[in-house]
Amino acid sequence: MQLSDINWFKYAAPQRFYPLAGKLLPWCAAVAVLLCVAGLALGMFIAPTDAQQGDAYRIIYIHVPSAWMSMVIYLAMAFWAAIGLIFNARLAAMLATSLAPSGALMTFIALWTGALWGKPTWGTWWVWDARLTSELVLLFLYIGFMSLHAAIDDIRRADRAAALLAIVGAVNVPIIYFSVKWWNTLHQGASVTVTKSSMATPMLAGMLIMALAFWAYCIAVSLARLRVVILEREQHTQWVRAELGVRS
């Protein structure tokens, strides 16, 4: 069977996507756990102590993956919100609302671990430099998206209003990413880009494996949340009642 033989639009219906998400979820969760174990084993037991930062650098194994995911999830959220807005697609809007809490959590983890890394290396928990400030703005964008969505009773209007906020806020993501180039920041520049890396091999491998683990976790937990959102928003339909074992 070729990919073109599959009717992808079939899965745009929440009722059809619900079981598909249920099938994908355990695989993503298993991949997340396995990669997390492998990444931490490599990072905590194989990778050597850093010559300059000592063992404080080991925070990198969660700081960088969570910071990457905070930006990736925002772009994914804005993308699906836009699809929902343009094509009036319910499932896309539900996916955007399902991604927001995970994105906010990743942003919080990036900020928290950043503070705990900043104290021993810079001597301060926080500075108002461009990288840290724009990442904090990202957290407020996630919170704003969720609050706005929750504040509007009509769910389809809530989807549209929140989508607008998500799309406008997407301008912040490149600002975060390039902030260390555009401004003189206390935060260091990128150690790893697509083409080059200044990190030692086991450190880099551990960090990349942890990044994949975070990626798999975020997909798993977002799919789980999406399934709950689908049930909530379709709760008056026959199929949800049947799915939840209620006689109708």
Partner: protein, 70 residues
């Protein structure tokens, strides 16, 4: 990684206490890992609780309210 250990090339920690001390940065490293683990556990718990709540809500609504609007 086991092979690498067997060759005796790299041994970073000589004891468990050395591992937990993290070269004096234990508070920062474990403060990062601990809070991350806690908030991820909380996220999973919250999703599970939300799933349970919608299940109960629909079940409590009882059979057929004839409100079906697909």
């Amino acid at each position: 990684m086991g092979a690498r250990r067997a060759r005796g090339a790299i041994v970073i920690w000589n004891s468990a206490s050395e591992f937990f001390a993290m070269g004096g940065y234990g508070l920062y490293v474990w403060g990062s890992f601990g809070v991350t683990a806690a908030v991820i556990a909380a996220e999973i718990w919250l999703v599970a609780a939300r799933r349970k709540a919608i299940g109960n809500l629909v079940a409590d609504a009882g059979p057929d309210e004839s409100k079906d609007t697909p």
